[in-house]
Each structure stands twice: as C-alpha cells, then as structure tokens.
C-alpha cells in the first residue's frame, strides 16, 4: 500500500469522520478514495441503535430525562457510529444552528434536535431549514413561541438570516436589511410549540410543533425584493436562492472540513482564505439545488481539500471522540459514560450547550493554557494505556516490523498515529529521546514488554507535540 494513499485516506477520515484505525484506512484505501467518499456520503452501515444506550441508562429514557446525563446519548452515538460523516454533519450543523441547554433546560429536546440534524443533515438544505424552523427546541431557543401576529418577535427571523443562512454580509456589503428581518419574522408568526415547557426536571413530554393560523400574520410582505403573502416556507424558498446563502454555507463547510477560517462575525469584511474553493463549494451547492450529499462529494474530491492536511485545529469533540475511537474499549455504554462525555466540556466545548446562538469560536481560539493541558493529558492518558485494544493493535504493527532503530521507531510511531507530519526539530527531539534507550527490540519476552512500554511512552510524547492538535 502506497504510504501516500494511506496519508490521504487518514486525512479524509479525520475530517469526514473521527479518524480511523490503520486496518480501516488500509481497507478503505484498497477500495479507493472516490469510492470511500461515495460510501461516506451514502452510508450503508446500520445506524446506531439508541436502545443499546437506554438499556443501560434507563434514567435517560423519556419521559424522564436525568439532567446529569446531559448529552451522553449523543456522545455514545459519536463513539460507536459506523456512519462517521453523517455524525460529523450533526456536529457541523450543531455548531451552525447552535442551540443550548442554558435556555432550553431540557436535554431531551436537544437530543431530539440532534436526531433531526442526523436525519436531515446530509439531505436537502431547504428541507433542513424548514425542519429547523419547526424544531421545538429552536422555537423556544429563539423565542418564536413569542412571535405573534399582533406582536412580532424578531429573534428567530434575525438569526435565521444572520447565522443560519445568509450572514450579515460579504465583501463589505450587507446581505439583507432590517426590513427583511422584520418581514421574515412576520412570516413565521404562529409557528409555535403546542405545550409550554414545564417547570420541573422530571416527567417531561416531548414538545410539539404547532401552527396557529389565528396567530399568523397573513398580510403582504416584501422580503429580499419579492412580494407576496408569504409564510415561513416561502421565506426559506427565497433564502435558498440567494447567492449569499450559497457562499455562506460554503464558507461554513470550508471552515469545518477544510481549513480554519476567520471567525464568523468577521466574514462580512474578511475575504475567505481560499475564495476559489469557497466558490467551488457554493457552485456545487447551488447546482445541486442545495443537496448536501452532492456538495460534500465535490468538497472531499477537490484538490483544495486533499491539499489541506493539518490546516485545522481539532475541536474538543474531535479530540475526545477521535482518541476514544482510536484507543478502543469504549463501545459498551458503561457507568462512566456520563463523566466521559464531559471531557469536551473540560476542553471548552460543552456539546448541546454552546456559549450562545453564535456557537463556539474555533481554530486557535479553542486553545488556552488550561485547555491545552487538558488536551495533552487526555491524549497521553489514552495513548499510553497499552492495554487498550487500539493501542495493542498499534504495538503489534510495530512488532511486525521487527527490531527498529531509534529513527525507525520514531518514524513508525508518527506514521501509525497519523501519519503525522512534525517539524524537523521535533522529529530530531523524538529520535534523541528514543536513542536514550537504544534499538527497539522484541526478541525476548522481557524485551517485548519493555518495548511495549516504550511505544506507549513515545505515543504520549507525540500526543504532547503541537502538531498533534491539528486535524
């Protein structure tokens, strides 16, 4: 197997999934890159059966929602899914349509929203926006239940345009006016939830979307140059035709899957780091009539994607889920799953509870001295655990290479953990460390045991280098 094929496949799986074992990379590389992209956008593996999780955590089964479990049901899906791009898209949309427990105060409705994003996230974006507009958690989050025909509340209408579809502007020009916000909001009057949120934590029932015709403003509206007696769906139909929408979604996809961009609020004035790439994605989005599968296919098969290796800082969810999948042994939803699911929180990303509707700041802004230490220690803790099945498999591959010189030892570890590219100084440093204990030998049982421990330690050291924070 050409090492370049493996490196490219590893890149694809880090971005379109949560990484993959060397066995999986080899199998996928043998099938081919484009075939793998096809399988990722049209997955055939069975979806995760949430009942496996509920069986061992009945306290999470509705109508009871145990607050302490937080988002661990979703976390467990990320850990075990064999449809990685589908799950990555849930994470993507969750970052764009950021909705949080801080206000919803009901984990179950947020899990329902994540399930909706999984169901619709790889399909048609227009249908996704309609589902989002009818999603009870979103309606409550952005106060559309307080958006009445006689008293318009603009919260949802504004964020729909600003954060979920168009963006405030591009190339210094605004994409919509305050009048457009007002008119869009009017079109969504009467889109509400059937049941007011109860006050207690327990015994809650699913919230339901409800359309109240008597509360809907059916008058004439003028929105982005179109005039008519628009309803919410008409507004969404107009939105998805806008070139600004195509470019906004394209830039989000670029930022999430290709390379770290400027933070979203800067997009009106800061041009994309690769305008041609964003144009390519935007065109695929428009040409396919907003089909996410077609758009993602173009993105992953493009040269700009293939050439963007290690151009992103991993998000905390990517760090935690990727390492846990690599190390293995977390497939069974044991009693510790609630605590394990908090690890992204410790690194600054509390899933299902973003700091605001603007979502998280990404890229280098994930990192401060506290969160960096958490990332390094978490990675080192798992990679140094030579009893975990994924680490054992890695050691066995090294062992199969026979005795290794310090250089060979370091290069093989960097290869198997990534392949990871590091600065030449860093590699020299790792080699110097390996030289302290000489050739890696597997001949006797004693040698094999020492060498296993040395591999664990080398992986920990690699987990601590800066380059490891990049995806």
């Amino acid at each position: 197997m050409a090492s370049e094929d493996i490196a490219l496949m590893a890149h694809l799986m880090r971005r379109a999934g949560f990484g993959a074992s060397r066995e999986e990379l080899e199998a996928r590389a043998a099938r081919g890159y484009e075939a793998t992209v096809e399988e990722l956008v049209n997955p055939t593996a069975e979806p995760v059966d949430r009942h496996d999780f509920y069986r061992y955590h009945p306290g999470f089964w509705k109508p009871i929602t145990s607050p302490g479990m937080g988002g661990s049901a979703w976390f467990h899906t990320m850990l075990t899914t064999q449809r990685p791009l589908e799950e990555k898209m849930v994470l993507f949309w969750h970052q764009v349509f950021a909705t949080g427990q801080s206000k919803i105060d009901n984990w179950h409705e947020l899990i329902n929203q994540a399930d909706m994003l999984r169901d619709k996230g790889m399909g048609n974006y227009r249908d996704l926006l309609v589902a989002l507009a009818k999603n009870p958690a979103m309606i409550y989050w952005l106060d559309n239940c307080d958006n009445h025909g006689h008293a318009v509340n603009e919260n949802w209408g504004r964020e729909l345009l600003e954060l979920f579809s168009l963006g405030v502007g591009m190339d210094g020009h605004p994409n919509y006016t305050e009048t457009d916000v007002r008119e869009a909001s009017r079109a969504f009057t009467g889109w509400t939830i059937a049941q007011a949120p109860p006050r207690g934590y327990y015994n809650r029932w699913d919230w339901e979307f409800e359309y109240l015709e008597e509360d809907h403003d059916d008058g004439e509206k003028t929105f982005l140059g179109h005039t008519g007696n628009f309803d919410g769906e008409d507004i969404i139909d107009i939105i998805v035709q806008q070139p600004s929408c195509h470019r906004f979604i394209a830039r989000h996809l670029y930022n999430f899957f290709v390379a770290d961009e400027a933070q979203v609020p800067a997009w009106m004035t800061t041009p994309p780091r690769d305008p041609e790439a964003v144009d390519t994605i935007a065109r695929a989005f428009a040409d396919s009539h907003y089909d996410m599968r077609s758009t993602l296919r173009v993105l992953f098969n493009s040269d700009f994607f293939k050439n963007a290796r290690f151009a992103k800082i991993k998000s905390p969810a990517e760090v935690v889920v990727g390492l846990m999948r690599l190390a293995g042994g977390f497939e069974f939803p044991g009693p510790g799953i609630g605590n394990l699911s908090k690890n992204p929180t410790y690194m600054g990303q509390e899933l299902l509870n973003p700091p605001s509707v603007e979502g998280w700041h990404t890229g280098a802004e994930w990192i401060n001295s506290g969160t960096l230490m958490k990332r390094i220690n978490f990675a080192a803790g798992l990679l140094g655990d030579t009893n975990r099945p994924g680490i054992r498999a890695l050691i066995n591959r090294l062992k199969a290479q026979g005795d290794l010189s310090p250089e060979g030892f370091v290069d093989s570890c960097l290869d198997l953990i990534g392949p990871l590219q590091v600065e030449p100084e860093v590699r020299q440093n790792l080699v110097a460390h390996a030289k302290d204990a000489g050739v890696l030998r597997w001949g006797t049982e004693q040698e094999a045991s020492t060498s296993s421990a040395r591999v664990g330690e080398m992986l920990q050291l690699i987990a601590s280098v800066r380059e490891f924070q990049y995806a």
Binding site: G348, A364, S369, G370, N377, L461
Partner: protein, 374 residues
C-alpha cells in the same frame, strides 16, 4: 486594616442558585412563614444577627466571623430583567453583559490589568475541572487546576525521573521554531505557559504544613489548595473555585443544610489556616450565586428566582449588612421573585477598585452604586 502585601481575591461561586431567604432569613417578617410552609427553617435554630434577619442554622462559623466584624452581607444583589436560566445568568455574572453575549470574563480582564506583561503566569488560578468563563480572556494565562496534588502535564508518566525527561522533551518541542506560522507560535507559547504554571504550582503542596484539619469535602479540598498556593508566595492574586448543588428544587431542607455546613466549615478551616500562617490580612473572599430562589416554596423546594445574597469575608472587611433586603410584599415581587436592589456590577466595582486597585469601569462596563464594605 492596612497591609503592605498585594491584595488577593478568592472567589467562591455557589452554583445552582443559592436560596437567599433561607440563607439570610427575614425571620421577623410574617410573610416568610406564610410563603414557605414546607421549607421554612425552625425558628429557634436560626442564628440571629439582629432584629430582622438571621443566618441558616448550618452557618455557625460564618455567624462567628460576622460577630467579629469580618463578614459583609450584601443584600438583594442581581441585575435588571433577571434571567431564570442557570447558564445564562451565570454568564451574565461572569461577563458583566446582561444585554448581549459577552466573551470576556471580568476576572480575566482584572488579571490582565494586574499583570499586563504576563510576568507571572499564575496570577490567576482556577480550581475546577473546567475553566470558569469569568477568567477567560484571549491571551490571558490562567492556571486551571483539578487537583493540586496531581496537577501538571503528563502526570500519568512514571517514575518521576522518566517524566522529567519527557517534560524536557516537551519544552524543546514547544520552543520557538523560526519560520513557523502564527498559530504554531501561539500554541508554543501556550504550551510553555501551561508547563511553567504547573511547575510553579507543584511546589505549593510540597512547602505546605499546617495544624489545621480541613473537613473531608470537595469545597474544603479546593480551599486548602488555594491556601497552599497562597502560602507558597507565588504571586497569585486571583483564585476561583465553586461549590455545586444549590439548585434545590426538591428536598431543600436537608440538601441546603448540608451545602451550608460544607461551605461554612470549609471557610472556617481556610481562615484558620490563613491565620496560622499569618496570611489572612491580604485575602478577601467573595461568595456569590447566579440568582436567588422563588419566594414561595413549591412543596418540597424552591424554583429559580431573581435577587440574591452575596458575602464578602476577610480582615479588611467592615462587617455588617449592606444594601436593602428586597421587599417580600406580593406587590413588590417580580414574577414571584425578590426584585434585586443592588446591581452586582457595583459590588464588583468595590472589589476591583477598592481591593484590587484596578479601574472597574472598563471591566463592568459602566458606573454602578458601590457598597462600601472596605
């Protein structure tokens, strides 16, 4: 009380919404007994402070310090249009931004003022698994300690000799490399700060000895860690920790008593330790919560409310009560809750200006009435 040592602030966050009316009890008000058939405290056990209010029976150590003139009780703290969501309300307290979403924490900004050139990367130390937003400002280093005894980078590696070899490699790997991009440089600097901070802090438990026995509770462990770092003279000026569980919707009487027993006894041990080490004179402790709780009980506990109570404790404090206890009369309540009578940003302003000696206006974004407890 004059001290020449640099002032130190210890923040203890009571997470979940501490119930004001069962903490500082308006026992003379017949309405208190009417509103709370299920969660009112036994009248004969309330620790009376004056003819109007008394403390929760579990707060004996705080009452003693109050009697010594070392506790300021700040009544009715909150902000306009109080939010009943834990997270949002806590964010507002952390960022001083009740209207829009703030990204900069008030103590992160204060830390930047105290140490503008990042001469000491342990100027601010946070005790808790995640970072409190109050401390987060891009570019401001904050040491985030889970457990001081095991704090550090790559602590899983043993023996110690091997670990120090690994850490040496770590430092080399993070050293500036010519030609690397901005993000790599930023990562390098942050990694070195993390390691340096851990290095500095690890001496604290080693240097520590005390005759004070802390209770075996999570909050006592955090305050002991703070005491250890404070005694080690590392130049830390801002400490932060929290105690969880004040969200007493149900079974409040028992739960709230345990919470205040744990907090009060931990604070008692902490100050005893400070005095034993002659290190109390430059420490100010500040207790706050994101909101008070509903005036009427719900049959078992209390739901989310608005105005709350804060405490400031220390030798420098002019003990007593500040501000006004909000009226309990039905017509004065807002949505069944106590209407805040003092903006928390005024309370922050007193701490920032009259204790830490930094300009409060840019941090709290404006001028607010300052309670004069210092």
């Amino acid at each position: 009380m004059a001290t020449t040592k640099p002032p130190v602030l210890v923040v203890l966050q009571l997470s979940g919404g501490n119930d004001y009316m069962n903490t500082v009890v308006p026992y003379k008000d017949p309405l208190y007994w009417d509103y709370r058939p299920r969660v009112a405290l036994p009248e004969d056990q309330i620790l009376l402070l004056d003819n109007d209010v008394g403390l929760h029976p579990s707060m004996g150590p705080i009452r003693d310090m109050y009697n010594q003139g070392k506790v300021a009780i700040i009544h009715g703290v909150g902000y306009p249009n109080s939010v009943r969501s834990h997270f949002r309300s806590m964010d507002i307290w952390h960022t001083c931004e009740p209207e829009k979403t703030g990204t900069e924490g008030w103590l992160g900004l204060a830390t930047r003022e105290l140490d503008p050139h990042k001469d000491n990367i342990v100027t601010a130390v946070s005790f808790g698994p995640s970072m409190f937003r109050a401390l987060v400002v891009p570019g401001v280093p904050v040491a985030c300690v889970d457990d001081l005894d095991t704090y550090g980078l790559l602590t899983g590696i043993s023996p110690a000799q091997q670990r120090s070899k690994i850490l040496e490699r770590f430092a080399q790997n993070y050293s500036p490399v010519i030609g690397t991009d901005e993000v790599m440089k930023y990562l390098g600097q942050t990694g070195l700060e993390a390691m340096e901070g851990a290095d500095i802090l690890k001496v604290a438990p080693q240097k520590y000895s005390s005759t004070v026995q802390y209770p075996n509770t999570s909050i006592a462990k955090k305050l002991k860690g703070i005491a250890q770092v404070h005694f080690a003279d590392l130049g830390s000026r801002v400490f932060y920790c929290d105690h969880l569980g004040f969200d007493t919707h149900a079974n409040q009487v028992g739960v709230h008593a345990t919470l205040w027993t744990d907090v009060s006894t931990a604070i008692e041990a902490f100050f005893a330790d400070l005095r034993e080490h002659n290190a109390a004179d430059n420490v100010l402790m500040f207790l706050f919560t994101e909101f008070g709780r509903r005036v009427r009980d719900n049959g078992s506990g209390t739901d989310h409310g608005a105005g709350g109570v804060s405490f400031v404790i220390g030798d420098a404090v002019q003990g007593g009560q500040y501000g006004e206890y909000p009226s309990r009369k039905a017509e004065d309540l807002t949505q069944g809750d106590l209407a805040p009578s003092l903006d928390f940003r005024g309370l922050y302003s007193t701490i920032l200006e009259d204790w830490l000696h930094v300009d409060a206006k840019p941090i709290v974004k404006g001028s607010f009435e300052k309670p004069r407890f210092l």
